[in-house]
Symmetry: C2
Subunit: 412 residues, 2 copies
């Protein structure tokens, strides 16, 4: 993308109303704009990052047998009355139509997915199943703060699984957990899983996926050698220095963390309420056990900015950066155009700052936007034998010959 | 995709409440499910088609300089009061929050796009601009019928352009018109454009893009030699057999058609209301002229089904079919698996009916789903020298050697 062609570009000054780093940097660098508290427009850079996060989540959900659908946001009140959510979920947005019909805006999709799947799950042969979608959700929050960490309108991936019994759900949860740990790692994040009170299936289990970050709102104890963690804000039987009860290989450390995903054991609450039943091997009518697996997509984007930034701007992890390369030319338009075209031909995402601005202004914008690799082409770099390459998360730069640039970039 | 792995599959019987072909076939073939009138879940096949239509639209909007963003659906009442829509748009869904704040659900995005762009358009140097997004919209319809043709929740691409003057808007409209005609053609549709009362810029102009189809709700006169058409349901000065007033090469014919896109000249209504102004070359404050360019994405999907089907099912145009190839094996699992893997390796979208069903049931589902190329591998086809290939829109089949299948498919 050529920056001279963009009508939407980074700002010079930070927004006055930003209460968090993600809000300030995402606005200043031109990724989002706040329409009202908790509701954002995603500008071109922001939309690219969102789509890259989505794509990684989609690949991992597909890899564990998830079937992707897209459920609607506008929903009839009846299904929320069936589940009981209509009267008990205070963040549920309610709408009255011109004809006095009541609707709700989806804040979760258990009601819709059971309505859809009761047609397709009839026999034990139809189980297990995992259905997911990536869709915007709505919550009537009393106060929406913290940028895109907690929105009134936000993007989520939610998957729902259906099982013959508790053991099968637990088996699939282990598969899903591995997928979650893998996808957060692909997003550049180290995640840990809170394990519930443990053992036995007598009580409903829920798991939280926490990302270690100084900006996190939760205090956790975690193990470096496995994915174990506990939220110490809840009642905890563990303390710093205890041996990890899961892997027994390391001592527990303390840290702050942000929740980016969760899993709930829904039991038969929704399958019974919506009469989603199946016939088991003995011909008996049974209700499946249901699991729910969420990831806040926009929230994860915000957590990544909270974790990866410095005083100059965002430092995007490679896999979800809006562009891998930020090409900056200092009065070397012609040479830069050749490099730009050649990188693009090699399938590399590249942003070219071809505007008529000072080197200093271009460097400041490049740091603000936060692409992993900055490539500068200037008279000086050319006389030194190529282009000046600097990683966003390093301070030293080096000269790379132009004909070696593509292969260098691909191996970063 | 292997059909044996799919939990969501075509139905045997048509839905009882379907009042249109698109509703009946899209449900029966497993593309959508109705949650309530005018609100649908997109099942895996439906989502694939929707994404393919989106991708074609996106390519064509990018090619004419459109910058893609994503504007929110939940919107503050204030912006709708500023534009006057709050009191005058009867299909606007209104929501009251727990804290008694009023919100609207986006049914169009002029209010938001001007709010966002007033920051980026300040000088004549910032013009012209074209900003678009592909987003779900909501309309409080008294009655929602006709499947996905007219929804309460529906997907639209809407682009907004900003110009120094009327001439520049008209110039850009000509560019956008060509992009629209090209993209509808890529979707397999022949589109025509209603031309407004013509000449002079004294009155606000709007254009409709109509697709010729027997199931269309509009009666039009059109020219075969150019894109001219008029809606004869409006007052028209033309009649069948008149010479085309645009190209003068052909006589006007009559047909029925469906509207799939539209363009509005918004003048300065929104730029003035939201004080989106720019400084012209003489240093004077001016308000840009604004254009709006819509395409109903879900509606277009419905129109395509209304146009391309027969009594056995849907007949998808090649570019947006859920899969290019529907591979059907008749007790030739092993041979089919080889073909499936080889087609996939060659980058071809293929659906493999690997279920344990009769040949007749598989053929019926294949016709219902409507992929362009059916490939049958059976003992008979193998002894005849390969696989039996039939186009969905033809009746004759032919034998193609297996090692020639990929290149045959790629050249269809």
């Amino acid at each position: 993308m050529k920056m001279s062609k963009m009508g939407i570009h980074p700002e010079k000054s930070a927004p006055k109303d930003a209460d968090t780093i993600n809000h300030r940097l995402l606005v200043q660098a031109g990724f989002v704009r706040q329409l009202m508290a908790g509701v954002y427009t995603y500008l071109p850079f922001g939309l690219i990052v969102l789509r890259k996060i989505e794509a990684i989540i989609r690949e991992e959900m597909d890899a564990i047998g998830g079937e992707e659908i897209l459920m609607p946001m506008l929903q009839p009140a009846e299904i929320w009355k069936t589940s009981g959510g209509w009267d008990h979920i205070d963040v549920l947005f309610k709408i009255k139509s011109r004809t006095e019909k009541d609707y709700a805006l989806g804040q979760s999709q258990e009601e819709v997915v059971t309505t859809v799947m009761k047609e397709f799950i009839r026999s034990y042969r139809d189980l297990p199943r995992a259905i997911y979608h990536i869709q915007w959700k709505f919550r009537d929050e009393l106060r929406a703060k913290s940028g895109i960490l907690r929105g009134r309108e936000f993007l989520m991936k939610d998957m729902y699984s259906f099982h013959e019994n508790q053991e099968d759900f637990e088996k699939y949860y282990e598969v899903a957990k591995k997928a979650y740990l893998r996808l957060f790692s692909r997003l550049g994040l180290t995640s840990k899983v809170t394990e519930a009170s443990g053992g036995g299936f007598s009580e409903k289990i829920s798991y939280e996926f926490e990302v270690l970050t100084d900006a996190g709102e939760a205090n956790i104890l975690y193990c470096d050698s496995c994915e174990f963690c506990v939220n110490v804000d809840d009642i905890s039987k563990y303390k710093v220095g205890d041996r990890c009860p899961k892997c027994d290989k390391d001592d527990l450390k303390s840290a702050t963390a942000s929740e980016v995903g969760n899993v709930f054991d829904l039991g038969r609450k929704y399958t019974e309420a919506f009469d989603l039943s199946y016939t088991d091997q003995n011909g008996e009518k049974k209700y499946p056990i249901m699991g729910c697996y969420g990831i806040g997509v926009t929230r994860t984007m915000g957590v990544i900015v909270e974790k990866f930034h410095d005083d100059k701007g965002i430092v995007w992890p490679k896999n979800i950066a809006p562009f891998l390369v930020h090409l900056v030319d200092i009065q070397q338009q012609e040479e830069a155009e050749k490099i730009y075209n050649s990188l693009k031909q090699d399938g590399i995402d590249v942003l070219w700052d071809d505007r008529e601005l000072s080197a200093g202004a271009k460097f400041a914008d490049s740091d603000l936007i936060g692409c992993p690799i900055r490539v500068v082409v200037s008279a000086r770099s050319i006389s030194a034998g190529g282009v000046e390459v600097k990683m966003r998360n390093e301070t030293e730069s080096k000269i790379i010959p132009i004909d070696k640039l593509s292969s260098f970039v691909k191996n970063v």
